[in-house]
């Protein structure tokens, strides 16, 4: 979605003018949620909020709006906001949201703004808005901490990492997390690794001629992508 379209809609949102939100598509900077997106009654819902917030923090920031009716447009790859499902202020407690985010993410995500905004038509109904500003690259990655408690008060801490990929908050698999921690997420390291590979290629190319190896069959590569 063009940035100016989202910016204009958010500007109206701040004033309680919600009309421009209708017709907006979800994307890497905007997520629409229904009126009961995060009820916090279960550990899973707290995890979902942490996942969504950290995915924006690990990307370039974004905004989550609670109280929107959204669904998939069959002619498009993205969900579109169809209407408003406004919520009362009692259903959206900013302090509770901030508390859950603080408890379930690491390190601290700076500048998060959580507020309930009343519709400019009054009536005591509005939208919940969670703004995640762009974060310093040095602070990344932001991870998800999940506390799981069973009946015997046994606690387990589960570390997770999510990245905003288009309209989705995509959690990394354990293997991906381990590989990234092993390699380091420093872009300089990645560039150095790429230079090393290039040097190796150049050395091999200038070495004594040898029969060119047949590339792996396409079937192996298809199997590889299916297994990732």
């Amino acid at each position: 979605m063009p940035e100016q379209v989202l910016d204009a809609a958010l500007e109206g949102l701040a004033r309680g003018a919600f009309g421009p939100l209708i017709g907006l598509y979800e994307d890497h900077q905007f997520e629409a949620k229904g009126p009961v997106a995060y009820d916090f009654a279960t550990p899973n819902s707290r995890y979902e909020l942490a996942k969504d917030v950290t995915s924006f923090a690990n990307s370039n920031g974004g905004v989550i709006v609670v109280g929107l009716d959204h669904s998939r447009n069959p002619n498009s790859a993205l969900d579109v906001v169809r209407g408003l499902s406004l919520i009362p202020s009692a259903a959206f407690n900013p302090r509770q949201y901030l508390g859950v985010i603080r408890e379930h993410t690491y390190p601290t995500i700076h500048g998060i703004d959580v507020r309930w905004i009343e519709h400019d038509g009054g009536g005591g109904a509005g939208l919940g808005v969670i703004r995640i500003p762009p974060q310093s690259a040095d602070a990344k990655p932001f991870t998800i901490l999940r506390v799981v408690e069973d009946g015997t008060h046994l606690k387990q801490f589960v570390l997770g990492y999510a990245l905003r990929s288009g309209p989705d908050s995509v959690p990394m698999t354990a293997h991906q997390i381990q590989q990234n921690l092993k390699r380091g997420m420093d872009t300089v390291g990645q560039r150095l690794a790429a230079i090393e590979v290039l040097l190796e290629f150049l050395v091999e190319r200038d070495a004594a001629p040898h029969p060119a190896a047949e590339p792996p069959p396409i079937a192996n590569r298809i199997r590889r992508i299916l297994e990732t």
Partner: protein
Amino acid sequence: MSTPSYVLAASVPSGNRVRRFFDRDEESAASTLERPPTFRWAGFDLRTMDTARLISDDCLEVRAGERKVLQLYQDGTLVAKAAADASLLGWGLDEAVFARIPRLNPVPVVEWHLAFAHTYRRLIAMLRARPESIRFRMELHNARVGGNRLFLTQYYERGIQNVHNPHRYQVFADNPAEDVTWAAGLLIDEPDFVAYLLVEKFASFFDMPPEDIPFVKTIGQRRVIDVDAIKALSR
């Protein structure tokens, strides 16, 4: 439940390679993976909003979760995986609905192949030598969802929900596959025609007749994907 997936791959004869494979400037292969050709905003294209990364010493990858994965090899092979469920190629509100009615949406089916053809056309221009031919490999995996076969329907402009008993073209096997090789010049000069040929092959997995493939126009003797019709979907 094993997720249905569609893999489309293109490769050139051995001995070729992508020039400056490790570069990151705007003219690089990595940049093409990150910003592939698109036809409209929010289309069913190859765009992932991801940053290309080396996953091995000869393979760049971008991905959008499990919905879309693109892998480009230094020898010029491009492999693209698309989720053939409600998250991309399928038409369903959620997994539960899709498990009961595993319907593929003809819009992403056509647009995905169109986007792949144009993306690979851009990539083969970066090869060290112009290839003579391109081999395409198409594989549909896990085409049975909860005991129900994936199926295709025609495209209904007024919405399929308004159509009584639409005809279902069901997939003929659980894991159909197809191999074709065409002259590289065909993709370079007529990518919309190659895109149509790819869609026709995919439709043959469902025994869907060519005349039911949407967003097609005829130029001379050739049926090609109508890019303007795809663009018009977003107006």
